[in-house]
Amino acid sequence: MDQIRNAINNIYKEGKFSDEKQAKTFQRVQPKKRLFFTPLLLTVFVTGCLLIGLNMLLSQHNFESNFQYSSTTSIEIFPEYSGKVKDYRVLKQPWMVAGMVGIIISFFFALFALKKKWLWRVLLSVIIIIAILGNMSERIGYRYYVKDDADILNTLQSGVFAIGNAEDAQLYDTITINQYRFSYFSTNVIRGIVFFKHDGRGYALDFGFLGTEDLMSSIHVPDIRHIFIPLLEGHSIEKLMIQINTKRTEVVVDSNRAQLVAVPYETEVSSSEITIQAYDHEGNVLDLYKPSDIFTYPVN
C-alpha cells in the first residue's frame, strides 16, 4: 500500500463517515414536500403591508393634491390649524423613491439570505436598510401651520430660516387673502416676508423672502391678483401710485410704521407691466420699485 495512504489512514483512523451522518445524508436527499404558495403569499402579504402603510403615510398629509384653489370664490372656507407635523411629501422626490426601492430590495434580499443562512449578508443588508432609513428620516422635516401672530413668531424662532438671532424677530404685518397668508417681519440684521399657503388643513409655511437691504422687493401674486408692497419703519411715504398698463391705482399710506400694503387689481397682468411709485409728504416722486424689483409668487 502507498506509504502516504497508509500514513493518513493510520493517523486519521478515527475519521469515519458515521452511520448517523449517512442516515442524515439519506434524509437530505429525500424529495421534500415543497410549499410553493407559502413564500409567494408571504411576499404578497409583506409587499401589500408596505404599500398600504406607505400610502397611508403619504395620503395623510397630501391634501394639497385634491384641494381646489380658487381666487375668485370668496365664499371658500379655509380652516385654520396650528402646530407642526411631519412633512412626508419629501418622500415623493426621485432619490427618496430610489431609497425606498433600495430598502424593499434589501429587505427581500435579507429574507433570502436568512433562508440561506448567509448571516454576514443578512447583517450587511440590515446595515444598508438602517443607513437608508436613517438618511431618509433625516430629510423628512416638519410642516409648520400658523393660525395667529404667535404661531408665526414661533415658526420664525424655530430656525426654519437663517435669520440670525430669531429671538429678536418682530412681526410688522400679516395679511391673509384666500389661500395665501403673508407675514412681514424683521430682526436686527434681516427683514423678510414669509409666505404661507393653505393645503386643506391650514396655512402651512411655504416660502421665505429675506433681505438685508433697506429696499425690499414687492411681491406680485397673480393667483389672487394682488401686489404686496413692504414699507420700512419710519418711511416718509404718503401715497403709493401703482400703474398697471394704462390703469393707475392710488393707495394712501396712513402711518409711517413698517407695514405691508396690499393692492388688488382686476385684469390679468405680468410683473413686467407693473410700475410702482411713491410720493412723500412734500410731493416728491420716488421710483420706489421698478418692474425688475418685483418678485412673482408662487415661483414657477
Binding site: 502516504i4 500514513a7 486519521y12 469515519k16 463517515f17 449517512q22 445524508t25 437530505r28
Partner: protein, 176 residues
C-alpha cells in the same frame, strides 16, 4: 428507480465515505466540518447520479467534488474567521493539542503533518495520486490541468514533503 439510487448512494458512502472524510480533514483540520463537506459531496452525487454508469467515474467524481468543497470552505469567511481566532489563541500562548504532541513522535504523524502543511495546489495532486490512488490521467481530468503540470506538481509536492521531514529530522519523500 429510487431504490436503485439509494442503493448506489449507500455503496458510494460505504466504499468512499471514510476516505473522503480523511481527505477533507487534511484540508480543514476539523472532523465535524470534514464530515459535513463529505455529506455535501454525497448529496451532489445523488442529484447527478444518472450521469455515472461506471464505478470508476463515481470515485473520480466524488474526490473532485470533495476537493472542490474543501477549496470553497478554505475560501469562506467562516474558515478565515476560525483561522484568525486560532492565530490569536496561539499568540496568547494558549493552544496546544496534546494529541498532536503524542502523535508527533510517530513517523506517520510526521509525514501526515508535512502533508497538512503543503500548499493546497500541491496537496491536491499528492492526495489524489497517492491517497485516492487515481492515475495521472484521472488526476489531470479531476483538476482540469495538463498531465505534465500534474507530474511537475507531484514531483514538487513529494520533494516538499521530503524537505519538510528532513527539516524535522525524518528522511522520507524521495521521488523514487
Amino acid at each position: 428507480m429510487k431504490e436503485q439510487k439509494d442503493a448506489r448512494l449507500l455503496k458510494a458512502m460505504t466504499d468512499n465515505g471514510d476516505y473522503l472524510v480523511r481527505l477533507c480533514y487534511t484540508y480543514v483540520q476539523d472532523w465535524v466540518i470534514a464530515e459535513d463537506l463529505v455529506q455535501e459531496t454525497f448529496v451532489k452525487f445523488y442529484e447527478k447520479m444518472e450521469q455515472f454508469r461506471e464505478e470508476a467515474s463515481v470515485k473520480t467524481y466524488l474526490y473532485r467534488i470533495a476537493i472542490n468543497n474543501c477549496h470553497s470552505h478554505l475560501a469562506s469567511w467562516r474558515y478565515k474567521k476560525l483561522q484568525v481566532i486560532e492565530s490569536w489563541s496561539k499568540l496568547m500562548g494558549e493552544s496546544v493539542d496534546p494529541e498532536n504532541n503524542v502523535l508527533a513522535n510517530e513517523s506517520d504523524a510526521l509525514l501526515v503533518a508535512a502533508i497538512e502543511k503543503l500548499p493546497t495546489k500541491y496537496k491536491d495532486v499528492l492526495l489524489l495520486f497517492h491517497f485516492a490512488e487515481l492515475s495521472l490521467k484521472e488526476v489531470s481530468e479531476t483538476l482540469k490541468m495538463p498531465e505534465n503540470t500534474v507530474k511537475t506538481r507531484l514531483r514538487r509536492a513529494r520533494k516538499m514533503v521530503g524537505l519538510t521531514l528532513v527539516e524535522e529530522g525524518f528522511e522520507y519523500g524521495s521521488d523514487t
